[in-house]
């Protein structure tokens, strides 16, 4: 913590501090003070401290100098011949990454668009990183490889960091959702033989696929079924199938339908095996889907690398959110190394003009959208659904978990740096199928459903 000690102070002692983590009581106090400072002030101090130490490497001489001219004079003198402000800014912008060769895992679906396109379109390179994006066979494998540190960070479903942090389906390991990858971008898709079953109430007895237990797909599909009076645990069969394998399963009639990323749904249409019943955005416009996730350990041991990576992702997400860039992105991510899919399929997803499989052409530019901001209230909603369907047993401190896992403050800072406008708050209300969700009253929300497990 010596970088954070105040070089202008005369009171430093050379004894160890009370907590033992700092070289002196002075450093201990400085660290405590630094924690309370804003980033900008802290950067300024770190830079000034570095400069002071560079000018006077000898502790005694530095003190003698400070004693002679006074602390404030010393700081002012320093500022006159050295552009302290500029140096501070440079430090804040480009803290040198501790490690530049990184591995980021992804599942080949359009939700991963920012993570994938950042590679061919040079966003990682722009932020000084050499990132290898690695295609992965399924969500459980992404989870294990990220926990095993084979991946430094990964594309995950938004509820996965919440689940991993709480030890659902794995050992509890503190994970974070640093940014949301995409919003919307999912479709309810049924096999072509179910053409006449537009009414959800007629889905009783179907075998439906979802990508993972801890997914927005699971919660949205269950929500939709329950709102239509179908108990998702007893009246239908929900199966976990990795997204890339859903079309083949639908063709083989192993499943009757699925809720999956749009490129999978569009592929089912393209291959003539299914039709798009509805988009997930009709349930909740602007719902989160996938996230960019990393372990807390990665963030704390490599803060600069994490910051650079987050900047690259937010930068790419900002680029992807603009409609005029979508066609180029579709071409960039279509090759075998990335999504390995026909460009025409990806274009229909990203541009939003698509065939629905029933002979109609629909046009919805917001079919999938990209907005990196990890709203705390999104996390709270996911937690309410985990509770509702019995994935979480016992009491849960919704706000605390949401704050720990969804790094809204970090994302807001990076967005500001990138010239984007982050929201002023970290929580917002929204409604799902017309029912308003108040993130301040999660327990009441869970209790309000007719069909639930707990």
């Amino acid at each position: 913590m010596s970088m954070f000690s105040n070089p202008f102070s005369l009171k430093s002692t050379l004894r160890r501090c009370l907590c033992g983590r700092h070289a002196s009581a002075e450093e201990h106090a400085a660290a405590e003070r630094a924690a309370k400072l804003s980033d900008e002030e802290r950067y300024k101090e770190v830079v000034a401290s570095g400069l002071m130490r560079a000018l006077f490497p000898n502790d005694l001489k530095r003190r003698a100098f400070l004693k002679a001219v006074g602390t404030s004079t010393a700081a002012a003198a320093l500022a006159t011949f050295f552009p302290l402000d500029m140096a501070t800014e440079a430090f804040a912008q480009t803290g040198k990454p501790e490690k530049t060769d990184l591995k980021v895992g992804f599942i080949p679906i359009t939700c991963a668009t920012p993570i994938i396109m950042a590679h061919p379109m040079g966003f990682y390179k722009k932020h000084g990183l050499n990132v290898e994006v690695v295609k992965t066979a399924g969500w459980a494998v992404v989870r294990d490889k990220t926990i095993n540190k084979e991946y430094d960070a990964a594309h995950m479903l938004a509820p996965m960091p919440l689940a991993i942090s709480q030890g659902l389906g794995s050992n509890p390991i503190p994970f974070v959702a640093a940014a949301i990858e995409n919003i919307n971008g999912q479709s309810f898709t049924l096999g072509i033989k179910h053409k006449d079953k537009m009414d959800v109430k007629s889905w009783k007895g179907m075998k439906l696929a979802i990508p993972y237990d801890f997914s927005m797909h699971n919660y949205l599909l269950r929500y939709l079924l329950a709102e239509n009076g179908i108990d998702p645990d007893t009246d239908v069969q929900l199966r976990v199938v990795p997204p890339p394998e859903m079309v083949a399963n639908l063709r083989a009639e192993n499943i009757d339908g699925f809720l999956a990323p749009d490129n999978v749904a569009q592929r089912a249409v393209f291959d003539g095996v299914g039709f798009i019943h509805s988009l997930s955005k009709t349930m909740w416009d602007g719902h989160p889907c996938c996230s960019f996730a990393a372990s807390r350990e990665f963030i704390s041991t490599m803060p600069n690398t994490y910051a650079a990576l987050l900047r690259a992702i937010v930068d790419a997400t900002g680029y992807a959110s603009k409609a005029e860039n979508r066609k180029a992105i579709a071409e960039a991510i279509a090759p075998a190394a990335y999504l390995n899919a026909p460009p025409i399929v990806l274009e229909q997803v990203l541009v939003g003009k698509y065939a629905d499989g029933l002979g109609n052409i629909k046009d919805d530019p917001k079919r999938v959208d990209f907005d990196p901001f990890p709203w705390d209230s999104f996390a709270v909603w996911m937690l309410t659904q985990m509770k509702r369907w019995g994935q979480i047993k016992g009491d849960v401190d919704y706000t605390k978990v949401a704050n720990e896992v969804f790094l809204a403050t970090d994302a807001a800072k990076v967005m500001k740096e990138m010239g984007l406008t982050p929201p002023a708050t970290t929580s917002k209300s929204f409604s799902v199928m017309g029912k308003v969700f108040d993130p301040g009253k999660p327990a009441e929300y869970v209790a309000s459903f007719a069909i639930k497990r707990s």
């Binding site: 290898e132 095993n148 003539g272 090759p335 190394a337 990335y338 229909q348 065939a355």
Partner: protein, 279 residues
């Protein structure tokens, strides 16, 4: 007048051609494609002239894909897109390491079990329980405990190919004829010399049979493991092409898996021939 071999070869070729012809006929689409579609909709559906393009491929499509892949087997476009040759090398490399480890463990332990009826009876229940476990059942456990996906794949090969070798070695060693051992005892041959000059040569054909079964299992396992874990290898290639729903490439992958499996088996068959002796 022709030799049996030549006639058999001719018959093989004829069977292959007949199979391809039937295949081609089966996948040729009928003439009618239903009512004409709106051209814009047809474009979004990827329908060009007649029929959908992602139907079951014919033998010519597969041959074309095979040629494409064989033309440049060693290209490397980053971690997710490598040539078929490279993928095969990754798989063969994994199999080789896992299999070599299995040989190192199975043959000595098999020897011990074969020489001691007590050890055989004591260890047999464990072997019988562990032997039938499917490779993929081991995979999550391996990923969880080893915490490294490529090591896990190697471990799975090891754990699945070790049992046939172990059992066959034990059986071969146990079945060495008592007369030979008695002769060795009469001549006062030491235990080490007895193991290497009497038992090993006598049991070698059985041991090699076990090794041959094991290499087949190892090759089966690696394809399945790579499909599950992803990354590299021929199994990953098949999985990746399945995502792409490129059935032609999947068939190419299957074909090559078969060919490599056959070659591995032939190599061990050659060894087996060498150690086999007439009684």
């Amino acid at each position: 007048m022709k030799s049996l071999g030549a006639r058999a070869g001719l018959l093989s070729v004829l069977l292959f051609l007949a199979f391809c012809a039937l295949w081609q006929i089966a996948v040729t689409p009928g003439a009618s494609t239903g009512p004409a579609l709106d051209p814009e909709y047809a474009k979004l559906m990827g329908i060009t002239t007649a029929g959908s393009q992602s139907a079951m491929p014919g033998p010519l499509d597969v041959a074309g894909k095979l040629w494409d892949n064989l033309k440049r087997p060693f290209y490397d476009n980053g971690p997710n897109d490598k040539g078929l040759g490279l993928q095969l090398l990754y798989s063969i490399g994994r199999v080789f390491i896992g299999y070599a480890l299995a040989v190192l463990v199975a043959v000595p332990i098999g020897f011990l079990i074969g020489m001691s009826p007590l050890a055989y009876r004591a260890l047999d229940p464990f072997i019988q329980v562990l032997k039938p476990i499917s490779p993929l059942a081991w995979m999550p456990l391996a990923l969880y405990t080893i915490k490294d996906s490529s090591l896990s794949a190697i471990f799975v090969i090891f754990i699945c190919s070790v049992w046939p070798m172990l059992i066959n070695t034990a059986f071969g060693v146990g079945a060495v004829r008592k007369e030979w051992l008695n002769v060795a005892r009469t001549l006062e041959v030491g235990p080490w010399r007895r193991a290497f000059t009497v038992i090993l040569p006598a049991a070698a054909p059985t041991i090699l049979t076990g090794m041959r079964i094991s290499i087949g299992i190892a090759w089966l396992v690696i394809v399945a493991a790579e499909m599950l874990v992803g990354g590299t290898g021929i199994g990953y290639f098949v999985w990746n092409e399945w995502n792409n729903l490129s059935i032609a490439n999947v068939i190419v992958g299957i074909l090559l898996i078969g060919v490599v499996g056959m070659v591995l088996d032939l190599i061990l068959a050659r060894f087996q021939k060498r150690v086999t002796f007439p009684e």
